[in-house]
Symmetry: D3
Subunit: 138 residues, 6 copies
């Protein structure tokens, strides 16, 4: 078994807040990340898949196909978007990096099986100092 | 003469659009950067100052003072903010990286003189693929 | 379960040597790292914690709290310090990156439990070519 | 147990193709990577080894020895070479990053045991967007 | 006046050699870079243009147009190519990074004028340790 | 004319202090950088030289020669050293990054002329947030 990782990127706006809190309460819990006028990030997404090497191609899977899949299922929904307002798989969820990683996992898991591999890890890098990794439910 | 550069960072939301255009016209000119629901970036700001080495300290200037100055005059206004809606020195301007670099220059120029140095360059990195440099009016 | 990682940095001096060896013997074993006049590094510390997402916040834990914890328990003791002479949790130990990673783990483990998460990995990057990871005693 | 990672680099030419395919068929499967006139990369190789800390040195193993081993067994064969034509352990294999990672593992595994550690992971970074990790047969 | 920089990337094979030298002579002058079986790099290309900010757009120029221009005039000729054998603007020249930077400048200069800006610098990064900058004939 | 840049690295200990100050006075001026027990950095040194392309080689100069020169004249004196105590060209000077850049310039300038090029810039990166550039006396 081997692991292969593809990086894709997206730039998005978001805000950390609970709709049942007022601005002051949100500020107490989420600090400046709760700014009602939004802020944003250059997110990096690392998708790691696992599987066997296909002896016909030397590939676990075709990286072009993996890149296309990630772009069509995830990046197109997130890039230059507002995570709170515009991303279907984040509706009703707090727009944290943790929830984002889980949401991206759920969008990709089945499609990666169709490519003949297993999704192993979704890593979302929010800044040079913070990142989240999700390995699925074990 | 010597040049010293300090990096600071800020995460902000913005949108490229003209208020006299409708959404469709804005999309034609500014593409997905015109998304009415905003998007955002991890911006990196590199401030380069020029001057002579002070033989008493071995410094052109105290980097702590430079960092504090940049934070208090610029970063506090930009970090976790909406550049279009909340940044005084960007009011009435298109929120492009070019205008941002010029705006930051104008906020810093005089204060850096007070520290005994000359502002040489403001560099704003919007993504790993794009950055703007402003060297003032020459 | 999800993993979240916080990066902090510290600049420190150290020396690899055994007090029961003379300089020549130390040079044989530790090379130029044994220089009696010290040398130093910009260390990067990556602390990875594991746990469940709190549905009230969308967080595994508050990253501000994690950052404060790492700074108050570890960085304040290491930054701009001499690892051999000034760091209590390294007293009597060889100042290798391996021992540093284990020492940092021991300083943090219980406090991270108090934040409601499990310490998963301490990664210490000594240079762009070398790093150490410690996952605790298993 | 602790993990330590050493990075080495090599620049090489390669081509993805099957000798039983003609150029058109190869282009269909491997795209521009099948260019008969070759292309190349700055590869980064991260070798992670696992073991116990030696209390006499504070080391899992001497990083100089690990670096020398990787250079003498792997880098010297790959750097400024054509992976398809000149690398003994890649003869008869498709020159994919996956096969390269497995090939490097096989070259290193026994020699790292002789250094008193276990090979844990071979990571080959082909570009800022793609990398492969191999953890051996489990 | 303001400067804006766009990064693009290409992976290519090349060889440093003079056709009037035999392999031994080439090795003496160019070392392992003269390997007759080629080697390759992940090149990074930074194109810096200078001009005035257009008050209608806030842009010096549209970065999408700049990116498209660089890709269509330069990257398409270099990416996954053999610089010695396949790149028209390098025919008859030594495939050094210096000549590459000058060649790219000549391909781009006039087209950037058509975009309403001046080409200021072509920077070609061959590895993390080496890069070349060309500012045109002054 | 073309510019070529070579990066080299060194790890060193230093301390910012004036011998005519006591520890308290030094702390007031230099902060934690004045720690009497030293601290250290992974320094990056970028040496940029300028000149014409030699049509016989396609080179401004042989990068191997430049690298060897920088290593033999500068890196060997700084790497794994104490900048205050052990570096001849820093004797009697405050061990600031500014003075270090000027010192390195003076060590290299004449030797680079012997290689047939002009020293253009010495850049010393002390951390990811700070760097100094020296372009000589103009």
């Amino acid at each position: 078994m081997i692991h292969i990782t593809r990086r894709e990127r997206f730039n998005a706006a978001h805000r950390l807040f609970r709709p049942d809190f007022d601005d002051e309460q949100n500020y107490k819990v989420f600090g400046k990340c709760s700014n009602p006028n939004w802020h944003g990030h250059n997110y990096e997404l690392f998708v790691t898949v696992a599987g066997e090497i296909d002896s016909d191609t030397g590939f676990l899977l075709n990286l072009k196909s993996l890149s296309k899949l990630i772009k069509s299922k995830v990046i197109v929904k997130l890039d230059h978007r507002n995570i709170n307002l515009e991303v279907d798989f984040m509706k009703g969820k707090l727009a944290s990096t943790e929830n984002l990683a889980v949401g991206i996992w759920n969008e990709l898991e089945d499609h990666i099986k169709e490519l003949g591999a297993e999704l192993h890890c979704v890593k979302v890098v929010e800044s040079e100092n913070n990142y989240v990794e999700y390995f699925g439910i074990s």
